[in-house]
């Protein structure tokens, strides 16, 4: 399927700043991070979230087989790279299930796609209403293409959306997200053909969409994760691009409030932090969910 161009009539959607939330809750363990993303899918409004990992880990696509990660893809890695050295995060692993290929903690996402090694990447999550002014249709290929185009616009001219045709069925035997090819990939071309620099995956519920994205910092001129300000400014620019907010918007770089404490955020007569813990206990910290 050819990626359709975004309809320009939706480029000035009227979105109140009150509906746009920024979240940077600090270092969470893998199960907590995935639980929080799942909850964001159900929260009203727009959420732009930086995901920081208390430990390097692997996330698996919603339907991936857990043990599939122990076999290497027969297709040569596009990036020709080794598994990167893990950036020294604060180590406090609370998930004991280890991925067989890497011996790292592993947790299953609610979004689709392939497995991702998190450590040195920039991980983000965005959730919002769909269909909506931003996404007129709940068509996964179109929604993914729009996300990809807007994120690539913030990353600079050297990063493009891959485009082209879906090859989903032929990609299923490939374990690693960065070995797969998809029209919504963020790619750059060092002169020898496109190299995947970012992968996006989605989950839909009635009226809502969640994007989880992993961007390779080494290919994107993105600073290391200890530079919190830089990541926040970057994600703010993504929000402005994605929501087509006017330049005078209070979302102007760095001028809006970032939620840093989940307990500040009301959620179903409780607080988001408590709900994350409950969801870890019932789902994302459970072997039944993570191993299949």
């Amino acid at each position: 399927m050819e990626i359709p161009a975004h309809d320009p009539k939706h480029d000035h959607a009227e979105i109140s700043n009150d509906e746009v939330n920024f979240l940077d809750p600090g270092f969470l363990n893998p199960a907590e991070n995935m639980a929080l993303d799942a909850l964001l899918l159900d929260l009203p409004g727009w959420w732009f979230r930086l995901t920081r990992w208390s430990t390097p880990c692997v996330t698996l696509g919603r339907f991936q087989t857990f043990l599939a990660g122990s076999t290497r893809s027969p297709i040569q890695r596009e990036s020709h790279g080794e598994i990167p050295q893990i950036y020294p995060f604060q180590i406090s692993p609370q998930v004991t299930l280890s991925h067989p290929a890497t011996a790292l903690p592993a947790v299953r996402r609610i979004t689709g796609g392939g497995s991702i090694l998190h450590g040195e990447d920039l991980t983000i999550a965005i959730s919002g209403p769909c269909p909506s002014d931003v996404f007129p249709r709940r068509k996964p290929a179109e929604v993914a293409a729009y996300f990809s185009q807007k994120i690539s616009a913030v990353l600079g001219d050297h990063i493009q959306t891959r485009g082209g045709h879906d090859e989903e069925n032929s990609m299923q035997s490939i374990v690693d997200c960065f070995d797969r090819r998809s029209p919504s990939d963020l790619v750059f071309d060092p002169g020898s053909g496109p190299v995947k620099a970012g992968g996006l995956a989605l989950a839909f519920r009635p009226g809502r969409v969640l994007l989880e994205g992993s961007l390779k910092r080494e290919h994107l001129s993105l600073d290391r994760p200890h530079d919190q300000t830089h990541d926040r400014q970057w994600l703010s620019r993504v929000a402005q691009q994605l929501l087509s907010l006017p330049p005078h918007s209070s979302l102007k770089e760095g001028s809006h409030r970032w939620h840093e404490d989940l307990s500040d955020i009301p959620w179903e007569e409780s607080h988001l932090g408590e709900c994350v813990r409950q969801k870890v206990d019932s789902q994302f910290g459970q072997e039944k969910w993570n191993r299949r």
Binding site: G61, R62, P140, E168, L202
Partner: protein, 127 residues
Amino acid sequence: MSEVPQNRNYLSSHEWAMPEDDHVVVGITEFAASELGELVYIELPEIGSEVHFDQQFGEIESVKAVSALNSPLNGTVVEINSALVESQEAISETPYDDGWMMKIKPAEDSAMDQLLSPQDYESQLSE
């Protein structure tokens, strides 16, 4: 315009329900299948499990996107189309026939009239 069979009712989230003997057959519409694109995985409920009106009964993956499948009725799952777990082609090719997903025994409080009529669903698609 996608085909909208007149012998069943619909959820606004694009699932259909068709009475058949003492149970109700459930699937997704041609429009939904077309929008989803190339399908790669589906998870259906276990036989005997309870499903609830407008609540999730399964999930389906296409183009790296996982979408919820919602039940049009309250009831108990009596049969699933297990062939779909191996191949989802029938959902795309014949969503109103071989692409059915589950059969449920409706609960007593279940009512087809809380669903969209074919005409109402056609109107939704044309908006």
